[in-house]
Amino acid sequence: MLNELALKATNIVKYFYEPTKFQVLKSVSLEVPKGEFVSLVGKSGCGKSTLMYILSTMDTDYEGEISINGEKLTGKKQNFLASFRNANIGFVFQFHYLLPEFSALQNVMIPALKLAKFSKKEIEERAYQKLELLGLREQALKPASKLSGGQQQRVAIARALINDPAIIMGDEPTGNLDSVNTQNVFEIFQELTKTFKQTIIAVTHDDEFAQKSDRVIEMKDGHIV
């Protein structure tokens, strides 16, 4: 069980062609077993976000191979990857990205409604639980556009958790949070990995956050060091 891999990336190479051809990732390989809480650190511009987008299957323009839960995802069709993400990956973006017209609750519910594994009533209940977990129960019915940056980021975290994904990826998920909320999110993540064997890969600039996690992976100039 412990040896089972949640994520396996082999020799990932990524180029950007604008404004000039430029190699961002230089043969990155990475293995994350199930239930591990991994922090990804490194200087700004070293390619952390780029790697996260590739690992989360959203960016398909790379060389190398990616498997999640033992399923090879490289070369799969966009629609397949979309429904795969919906069921298996929770993602918290570097900039929060909620749908502004919808309430916090609705934002959390949408990926679950899309997955349609539970009834709407159950989904609503679950969404309230996740918001509660992140201390946002009172904000549930507010439109996302009326929330503060930190609140929006926590709603995005709640949204990433709603489908109980095997892997939760965060690109600086606590970047906008104060220390109390950062601590809270850290505890939630730890609980998810310990109790529910979910896997977390989080980019962070917070050294304390990184040190407390199971493993710290450091990147430098497109390499893992």
Binding site: Y53, S56, N79, A82, A87, L99, K114
Partner: protein, 416 residues
């Protein structure tokens, strides 16, 4: 509710103004279409009805033709002859339809025929003091004629039965009566082209609402005209027919022409010029309406494109959360179609209300046509056409932006 539907509606509710503007475009397009079609076809129907109220569906008469060959061509045939005859004139043929009354009787038995009225028409002068007015005198079996053209309802004075009761009773067109300053009971002397004079008495005045008839025609009993012209009691020049389905007139006329060997003219041929104006009106209606709808369609296209441009981030988030390209396309198509539905519904209402309003505007046709207000044709078919057309337009207008939205690569936008 379907998730895509819910997302589409929520987004539209958040941008009520743009949604309203796009909807109004369709509303006006469809509204104008309904108004124009109702009005134009209203005119067409009025004209057609007016025309048919006085025109037989089929008129059978003896067409006088100059013979193309002279008698000498029939006698001296062969290559050795060259016959030259200048300006051949018609023979002094009788203008009547031989056995007209028999034919009329025959036609009455035909299942497609509604009514038959044999007639004898003569050009006459109406003598009014020193002035002579040109006109026509139509000898009819007045009750048959009434069956065909509902003469009774066209009478502005007098009674039909009074024509039957007297041998010189006259039903006079309202325009003619005005020119001659005639009232019911007044007498008028008419003269035929052959010089016969006859004193007649006006017993009724009719009005078809068509100047070409009201200004020249009078009706009297068939035998009276036969006597004035010195013809026998079987002599008739025209047979007027009404059919059960007047759109069959052309086909049936051809059959009768073969059968009776007389000219059978259907109403469409007789009124070809008016029918051309029908076609023109229809063309105008559809061109203008389609233009309006295309403009509305472009409005929707623009607004959809703008919406999608502004919603790039949201589309990227949806895709990142697991929405497929097809889901995104659905969301925006739903928005376009919703605009189409709302625009169609409000447009049909607007069109109906405008039609009702235009239908109350007084219009004076100068006595030419029997109408006081603009004619409006309420036909559910045009409402269905308008509805289908607006849905189709908005669907096409929304389709291309929606496809574009479905192809947006989320990563491009999320990277910023």
């Amino acid at each position: 509710m379907r998730l895509t539907l819910q997302i589409a509606f929520t987004q539209m509710m958040a941008r009520k103004k743009q949604t309203a503007v796009a909807t109004l475009g369709v509303t006006f397009g469809i509204g104008m279409f309904i108004l124009m079609v109702s009005f134009m076809t209203g005119i067409n129907i009025l004209l057609e009805e007016t025309m048919l109220s006085a025109t037989p569906h089929i008129r059978i008469y003896h067409e006088v033709k100059a013979s193309k060959t002279s008698i000498i061509d029939e006698v001296q045939t062969g290559a050795q002859f060259m016959n030259v005859v200048h300006h051949i004139k018609p023979k002094d043929e009788k203008l009547n339809v031989k056995n007209g009354l028999m034919i009329a009787e025959n036609l009455r038995q035909e299942p497609e025929v509604l009514g038959v009225s044999p007639q004898l028409t003569s050009q006459v002068f109406y003598n009014f003091g020193p002035i002579q007015l040109n006109g026509s005198l139509m000898g009819v079996q007045i009750l048959e004629e009434n069956k065909l053209f509902d003469l009774r309802s066209k009478l502005v004075a007098g009674r039909i039965e009074d024509v039957l009761a007297s041998h010189n009773g006259l039903l006079m067109g309202v325009g003619l009566a005005k020119k001659l300053n005639m009232k019911v009971g007044d007498k008028v002397t008419i003269s035929t082209p052959k010089g016969t004079l006859k004193l007649m008495q006006v017993v009724g005045i009719f009005k078809y609402g068509i100047g070409a008839i009201d200004d020249v025609r009078s009706y009297t009993n068939l035998p009276t005209v036969q006597k004035i012209l010195g013809k026998d009691s079987r002599y008739v020049t025209d047979i007027s027919l009404k059919l059960k389905d007047y759109y069959q007139a052309k086909r049936i006329a051809q059959i009768y022409e073969k059968k009776y060997e007389y000219k059978c003219e259907d109403w469409e041929t007789a009124n070809a010029t008016i029918l051309v104006s029908f076609t023109l009106r229809n063309i105008i209606t559809y061109t203008v309406s389609i233009t309006l709808l295309v403009v509305a369609g472009f409005g929707i296209y623009n607004i959809m494109n703008m919406t999608i441009y502004e919603k790039m981030k949201d589309i990227a988030i949806l895709k990142a959360m697991g929405f497929a390209g097809g889901d995104v396309r659905e969301i925006f198509l739903i928005q376009a179609l919703t605009i189409g539905f709302m625009g169609a519904a409000t447009g049909l209402m607007l069109g109906f209300i405008l039609s009702v309003w235009v239908g109350t505007i007084p219009f004076d046709s100068g006595g030419f046509l029997a109408m006081n207000t603009f004619p409006i044709n309420y036909d559910i078919r045009y409402y269905i056409i308008g509805f289908v057309f607006s849905i189709l337009t908005t669907f096409l207008a929304g389709l291309f932006p929606s496809i574009r939205a479905s192809k947006i690569d989320p990563i491009q936008i999320l990277r910023g």
